[in-house]
Symmetry: C2
């Protein structure tokens, strides 16, 4: 198409909304415009990229037997009530009432809708397994939305749902989808890491994010140096080495401790190692119950893990006031003696140390030689510790390396979570009995993927689109005086069905070249009075130009 007719402009100078390079370049190149915060127009150029990403995903989904369909954008709220999701994701759920009073959720995901349509079909074991998916608009009522296309309130997602007779069958599909996802992103030019992640309220062991390593990523995860393990910070487990476990237990005693409230203050005062100190963090859960997390001093509490171990939905740090109400003192809280007032959740690391020191529930009073099980009993024990760079991985004891990434996709086990909560979400098995289906789900955000490609493929002049997602294959610039040759070449490119953007404007060569670099189409062709009967070819990713005949150009482009 002719660039003069293109709806969309290049802009120069810093753009608003976000400093992210992908946001800046997509705005500058005329790919997107902002509607409201976190809501974007995709201009024709941007939409072409979006559609190309969609096409790659569709091809790969169809290749493994996925079936595209569509569910309504408005989900009857009764379905979300069946699964109690109106409560569990209430904070980011938008809902709307029609004029007859019927209420609908604006879905962030569509599990209930897919289960609802499946149960309408009265499935039998013969119908399983299947994998159905859609590309559709999703809504997230995010509080913050300042990351361009990387964190938005409305976006198009490919969400797939697989239905199985049992867990074993699901696991096969899950591994297949993991391979498909790696292939999809690889085709799009993105190297992804498969990162174990938190399955949230669903639980279950199968949940992975596909992360593209990037310093601007919001996701923090750990990869073992030997690559044997990769997990999101929420779930990463690590090897907790024994410390002084061979020491004999010494008598518990309290000592005067005029110190500040930090762990460092404790180390300074007692001149003992940080790992020997006990760290206590008081939380309040969604029901108002107190939870005291107790952990080895050199570790931090991982709130996601704590949620799971304590079976809570939400946690917040307790206030100083609440600490005092319990009869303790801020900065001096201790599990010793609090068993009846709070739920004590201990990290298993407390068994790697002996004769710890720590607080004693009174101002300026510390305790020495605290030992779990002898001096206090935890109501719950488990792994509630946050991994850190340099810690050793759980299995191979290889050092964990902290990484940041952009989550472009995720796959996870739903198990029976939805099918058991929704009525008649069953299939008739070979034994004639109705059984709930075992499910998985698989998502890719298209706009985020597009922005991630830009994060990875750009230079200081603009975007450098990989061929597969480029809005056009050729950016053809004609300069003044070569109009006739230009029209001929354009017609010829179209005849060969080559996707060409022809910058036919009356602009200076400098402006045209700068726009071409900014827009980032893989091949730039130039015709001017100086190229004669030939055409200048330049790849966007290279500085080298060459003069080719039209036949050579066509050959290279169609070859």
């Amino acid at each position: 198409m002719k660039y003069s007719a293109n709806f969309g402009k290049t802009h120069y100078g810093a753009q608003g909304g976000s400093d992210l390079i992908s946001h800046q370049l997509l705005l500058k190149g005329g790919f997107i415009e902002e509607s409201a915060a976190g809501r974007y127009f995709f201009l024709p150029l941007g939409w072409r990229v979006h559609e190309k990403i969609k096409q790659v995903i569709k091809e790969e989904m169809d290749a493994i037997g996925g079936q595209e369909m569509i569910v309504p954008v408005l989900h009857p709220i009764e379905l979300w009530e069946e699964t109690n999701r109106t409560n569990s994701v209430g904070f980011e759920l938008m809902s709307v009432k029609d004029r007859r009073g019927a209420k609908f959720a604006l879905g962030g995901t569509a599990e209930e809708m897919f289960v609802d349509v499946a149960r309408k079909l009265h499935l039998t074991y013969r119908d399983l397994p299947f994998n159905i998916y859609q590309f559709s608009t999703k809504f997230r009522d995010e509080l913050r939305a300042r990351g361009g296309l990387l964190r938005v309130r409305e976006f198009i997602m490919k969400d797939a749902y697989s239905f199985h007779a049992d867990e074993k069958d699901f696991k096969k599909e899950y591994e297949k989808m993991a391979r498909v996802y790696a292939k999809i992103f690889s085709r799009l030019g993105l190297k992804t890491l498969r990162v174990e992640a938190d399955n949230g309220y669903i639980g279950g062991e199968y949940c992975h994010e596909f992360q593209v390593e990037s310093p601007i990523g919001e996701g923090r995860f750990f990869q073992a140096k030997d690559k044997s393990y990769c997990a999101h910070e929420d779930v990463a487990i690590f090897y907790k080495q024994n410390k002084n476990v061979k020491e004999k237990m010494k008598p518990y005693k309290t000592v005067k401790a005029v110190r500040g409230k930090t762990m460092a203050d404790g180390v300074k005062l007692h001149k003992l190692p940080l790992w020997q100190q006990i760290k206590d963090v008081l939380y309040v859960n969604e029901k108002g119950g107190f939870i005291l997390a107790v952990i080895r001093g050199d570790f931090d509490v991982n709130e996601t893990k704590l949620l799971h171990v304590s079976k809570s939905y939400q946690l917040r740090p307790a206030t100083d006031e609440e600490v005092r109400k319990l009869g303790s003192y801020p900065g001096f809280i201790s599990p010793v003696g609090l068993e009846k007032k709070v739920m004590i959740v201990a990290d298993d690391s407390l068994h790697t140390v002996r004769n710890c020191y720590g607080s004693a529930n009174k101002k300026h009073l510390d305790a020495m030689n605290i030992n779990i099980d002898r001096d206090f009993k935890a109501h719950l024990e488990g792994d509630i510790a946050m991994a850190q760079d340099g810690f050793l991985s759980g299995k191979t004891h290889s050092p964990l390396q902290e990484k940041r990434g952009i989550e472009v996709g995720n796959i996870f086990q739903l198990g029976y979570h939805y099918s058991k909560r929704m009525k008649n979400a069953t299939f008739i098995d070979q034994d004639g009995k109705a059984k709930p289906y075992y499910m998985g789900c698989y998502g890719i955000g298209l706009g985020r993927t597009m922005a991630t490609v830009v994060e990875k493929y750009h230079d200081d002049k603009g975007i450098v689109w990989p061929k597969v997602v480029a809005p056009f294959q050729v950016h053809f610039i004609s300069l003044k005086g070569a109009e006739k040759q230009a029209q001929a070449l354009y017609d010829r490119l179209l005849k060969f069905k080559i996707e060409v953007l022809w910058d036919d404007r009356e602009e200076s060569p400098g402006k045209k070249f700068a726009d071409a670099d900014l827009i980032g189409i893989p091949v730039r062709l130039v015709i001017s009075t100086r190229t004669g009967t030939k055409v200048e070819w330049k790849n966007r990713a290279s500085d080298k130009t060459e003069l080719l005949t039209i036949a050579q150009v066509i050959n290279k482009l169609t070859g």
Copy 2:
């Protein structure tokens, strides 16, 4: 794909929701399922049809320089307030608030959004004209939604918006779009009539619906027998023949009239023709003002025309109580003497008659020899009459024929309606001045088009899809004992990239044949122990079968 793996089933027996044949067949064939009233799942088979319709529309839109893009589903309500649409379409508009209190419209159309993105680009005359479009979900808060895909609350629409420097340029685009629409529907197998329609609150002369004639259509329109004219009932004009205009005016007088309230009662009592009676209908507009429509007795009031002539937004019939309050009497209202209490709007047909009879604002009192201008003056005069079958068309006086149709598309002039109401919705013209753009818009509902195709293409066994929209090109049935040959043929069809649905199920031949007829794919192929090395070919639309070699089959399908 294998039908055994298809997500979706055939059903037999009457389906709920609507008796429309398209609804019944789309449900029975496993193309759609209902989510909530007026909201549908498109199952994989149905989605393939939907996507094929989309592809045809896209090809034709792109061919005339249309540029596909996308705007957010949620429209900032401030934009709708700029154009006052929150008031004018309030009854069918859904809106939603996010958790920060920002309000959004769930768009039924997207004029404001397209103008908003256009004004963000700071256009100049060089950028005009352009035509930008999207395929996106639209919402209509319809009170009734009982027509399957023909009347829904949520659907995917292709909505296009063109921007021009002036009306002249718009008109060229408008005619181009009219041709494109006829072509699109023709490619989809639908013969459309271009029907003049009401432009609603926008006004302007350019507004057409593309109607597919059908007895189940909700649209009523009139076509002149000589095809010179075709218009929706809302706007259809007709030739109002003179009656007794040569009579001398006789003196106005009142007479006792013990009669009922209907026009027929008047005819019966006075033994005079219906056309000589005056018909008076009292309305109340949105501001509470009284409007008395006065028209020749053999015509009916057209409320849409009355809205325009009276410059009202909404009208409702007055109650008997309101008639009495005016000092008149129900069934006996008359314009004579009411000039100061109501706005009198007279149909121009009152100049085709003389010495009319009618009511006289008192119970059981009629008037004789009423003549407009002499006995009462209308505040407004114009065409407020409803066309009827057999009336003569305005220009060629050819008899009008009443028709019903399904509106599958519409095109209309927006003019300056949006650009003048929205701030900075301007382009810099050659003279350096900022001017509002002149606009048009063009819509096609995809699901409705799909249902219309089914209304037109079916027989008593099921759907008979036109090739261009068929979910697959070949419905391949293999019967027991021919598994090996079947697999070989299937592989071969796939190799030639022929879209094939292979019914590989262990079902009876009868069931498989019935399902094939119901689903309606253009070509049915059968392999059984009886077909030997050959294949039975049958077109869905024909009863004839023939035995072909595999090579012949491939030739016919790829030829």
